[in-house]
């Protein structure tokens, strides 16, 4: 039994290559059938997202499973094999298992810890299931993979901190105001980034949205999209008193909010805290405002360095994730071993019993004069020898099944004791 994965990702191939070997969803059922038709392949799964294309397969026999998969991938898209090979990675056995778990836990993603990938893996698996391309090996592998991905998500901080400008602004807002529900947001100017940030804030419960723009019509337009209200430019200072969060992104060449102005605003607000976000370049808000009490000012560089620090934090957490994945890889390997070991033990015992019974029959025929008590003794002798002889190998096999350190070869035991391969297929061929 072999497991292998062949694929390419944003780390190994540019988008020009990725887009050529991608499997559109509609083509996947047919592609899965072709995959199953490859020599030696018994189970398969195809994962095709914008950042990666991967083919997983379980195979029987001693053929070159990885080579076959690479051939399948190239053949599916009439892509020159030698060019494709430069971008491909191939993992087999434990490494293939580990790779799937890392991908699913978002350790291999462009943005470490992003949440989408696990859903994409699930979809790929369900499509393979729907096409009848999965069996007990892939089913168990996915079970362990889900468990690994879930543990990584809950037990490490890999998905904890914000890694985009707008989400880090929200994260900061929630460290100033506990709950954004009922908070008032003022948008000064307009811009894609500020709109994105406002959408995040609304999703977190901010209800009151005000929009100020030099051109009142633009303000009205933008206010409509957020269900907010437009503010006349001249009344900006007056409305700032009511604003808890201010996002500014105008094209003005000078400061819109000055220290003197904000000192008054804060006073009129009775020193209730304010969070100012300045995403304009050149800046709209005088940086000295940050020195005022109860005002927290972040400009675009501040937010970017927060994001950078958070990404570093995720990288640190990813190291913890490796240990979790190692545990699940171990659990899966133990399961695979037990799958191969149990039939070997059964065959070994049966072989022993066959030899014992045959030899006993022969001997007892020749020793017809023995009393029934003596016959019992001979039987016990034969059983004793067989059991004692088999005890060693059986214990070793069981230890292997538990995933211990010893790497005893099941095949070797089969060969040493002359166990036919057919006894094995009849044991493992359920479902």
């Amino acid at each position: 039994m072999q497991i292998a994965v062949v694929g390419l990702s944003h780390k190994t191939a540019p988008v020009e290559v990725r887009e050529k070997v991608a499997f559109p969803e509609s083509d996947q059922p047919a592609a899965l059938q072709r995959l199953l038709a490859c020599p030696g392949v018994t189970e398969g799964m195809i994962m095709s997202t914008c950042n990666r294309v991967e083919v997983y397969a379980v195979g029987e026999g001693g053929g070159d499973l990885g080579g076959n998969l690479a051939g399948f991938l190239a053949g599916s898209h009439a892509f020159p094999t030698d060019v494709l090979r430069r971008h491909l990675y191939l993992h087999t056995g434990e490494e293939a298992v580990r790779h799937l778990m890392k991908v699913s836990s978002s350790l291999d993603s462009m943005v470490l810890g992003e949440a989408q990938i696990l859903g994409q893996v699930k979809e790929a698996f369900e499509r393979a299931q729907g096409a009848g391309a999965t069996g007990r090996i892939l089913n168990e592998l996915m079970k362990k993979t889900y468990s690994a991905a879930k543990t990584v998500r809950t037990d490490t901080g890999i998905a904890r901190s914000a890694v985009s400008i707008s989400s880090s602004a929200v994260e900061l807002a929630r460290k100033i105001f506990n709950d954004l529900a009922g908070k008032t947001v003022m948008i000064i100017g307009a811009g894609e980034m500020s709109e994105l940030a406002v959408r995040h804030l609304i999703a977190q419960g901010a209800t009151e949205i005000m929009v100020a723009n030099r051109t009142f019509e633009r303000a009205v337009e933008l206010a409509k999209t957020f269900n907010g209200s437009a503010i006349a430019w001249e009344e900006l200072a007056h409305h700032l008193v009511m604003s808890d969060i201010v996002i500014s992104s105008t094209g003005a060449p000078h400061f819109i909010l000055t220290v003197e102005m904000m000192r008054q605003v804060i006073h009129q607000r009775k020193h209730r805290p304010m969070f100012l976000i300045d995403i304009a370049v050149p800046r709209d808000i005088d940086p000295k405002i940050n020195d005022l009490d109860n005002v927290y000012l972040y400009d675009i560089d501040d937010l970017e360095s927060v994001v950078e620090a958070n990404l570093k934090e995720r990288q640190k957490e990813a190291e913890k994730a490796e240990a979790i994945i190692q545990r699940e890889v171990g659990a899966f390997t133990a399961w695979i071993n037990s799958l191969q070991v149990v039939p070997a033990i059964v065959a070994l015992r049966r072989r022993g019993e066959e030899i014992r019974d045959a030899e006993l029959a022969k001997a007892l025929q020749r020793l017809g004069h023995l009393s029934s008590k003596d016959q019992e003794a001979v039987r016990a002798l034969a059983s004793g020898i067989v059991n004692k002889l088999l005890h060693g190998p059986v214990t070793a096999l069981k230890r292997e099944a538990r995933g211990g350190e010893t790497t005893l070869n099941v095949e070797l035991v089969r060969e040493l004791f002359g166990l036919a391969a057919d006894s094995r297929s009849e044991e493992t061929s359920d479902d």
Binding site: K175, I176, N178, H267, R272, P273, N290, Y296, D302
Partner: protein, 275 residues
């Protein structure tokens, strides 16, 4: 039997507070929520043991056992733990334990080193005012201990947000709004209790010594502390002194509390000295 029970309960309290505090501190490093839950229940069990200790002592001595330094320090710890459990139960901050629980732990450890014998009660203390005066005063101290811990947490978090550094505490500590709310809430309760403590003390003084106020050092320092807290409340309500300034004042106020409690006993001559 009551003596043995006291010893057992006291040691149990010490052990459980120690374990609870250790878990709360471990949470700062390991940051798994389950640790704070364990720590909370261990601390709550310690509090139950502490309560049993006082009950046993009360049965044995026949009076409300806050009459000497050992009992006072121990009762102070009991009151702080009570307020900690109330606030942690309500806000579930997780980190509050690391900032508050070391205080009662150190107090109980200090108490363990003090003279623990039960002495016959001085005639002046034989009054039902003993219960009211000491309860109000100590519960007031404990409430402003919450304000103190909240103030320290606020200042740390404020610095993180202001300086744009998202360190470990940025993630662990709650929002500035919650911390400020806790500070205000506990300050209000603490101030009311301290006021009641001073009033009942004055009434008791009149009954025992014939004068409401005699400018004993303890009385003077209590009044100073009371004024600090009154000033914080006043500034908050009228001038909008919230956040950082309020947090600093809360720390100053608690220094006043500690001096009123320990400083007066150890450094100054006072009729309030526990002996």
């Amino acid at each position: 039997v009551a003596g043995l029970a006291q010893k057992v309960f006291f040691n149990l309290t010490l052990l459980l507070y120690g374990l609870g505090t250790l878990h709360f501190l471990a949470y700062l490093v390991v940051r798994k929520e389950v640790i704070t839950r364990v720590a909370f229940w261990v601390t709550a069990s310690g509090f139950a043991a502490h309560t049993c200790f006082f009950a046993a002592r009360m049965v044995q001595s026949g009076y409300f056992p806050v009459t000497n330094l050992f009992e006072a320090v121990s009762f102070f710890a009991w009151a702080i733990t009570l307020f900690f459990l109330i606030y942690e139960g309500k806000y579930r901050l997780g980190v509050l334990g690391a900032f508050m629980m070391p205080v009662p732990l150190v107090l109980v450890l200090t108490a363990a080193a003090l003279q623990q014998e039960i002495a016959p009660l001085m005639p002046a203390l034989r009054s039902r005012w003993l219960f009211f005066h000491t309860s109000f005063a100590f519960l007031g101290y404990a409430a402003v201990a919450v304000t103190f811990a909240g103030g320290v947490m606020y200042l740390i978090q404020e610095r993180q947000v202001k300086r744009k550094r998202s360190g470990v505490f940025f993630r662990l500590l709650p929002s500035l709004e919650i911390l400020d709310r806790i500070n205000y809430h506990s300050l209000t309760i603490g101030f009311a209790l301290l006021t009641l403590g001073i009033i009942t003390g004055a009434v008791w003084a009149e009954a025992a010594w014939g004068t409401y106020w005699s400018w004993d050092p303890k009385e003077t320092w209590s009044l100073i502390t009371w004024f600090i807290y009154a000033a914080i409340l006043h500034a908050r309500l009228t001038a909008g002194w919230r956040g950082r300034k309020a947090a600093w004042l809360a720390i100053v106020g608690f220094a006043g509390v500690l001096f009123t409690f320990f400083g007066v006993n150890l450094l100054l001559e006072s009729i309030h000295a526990y002996n």
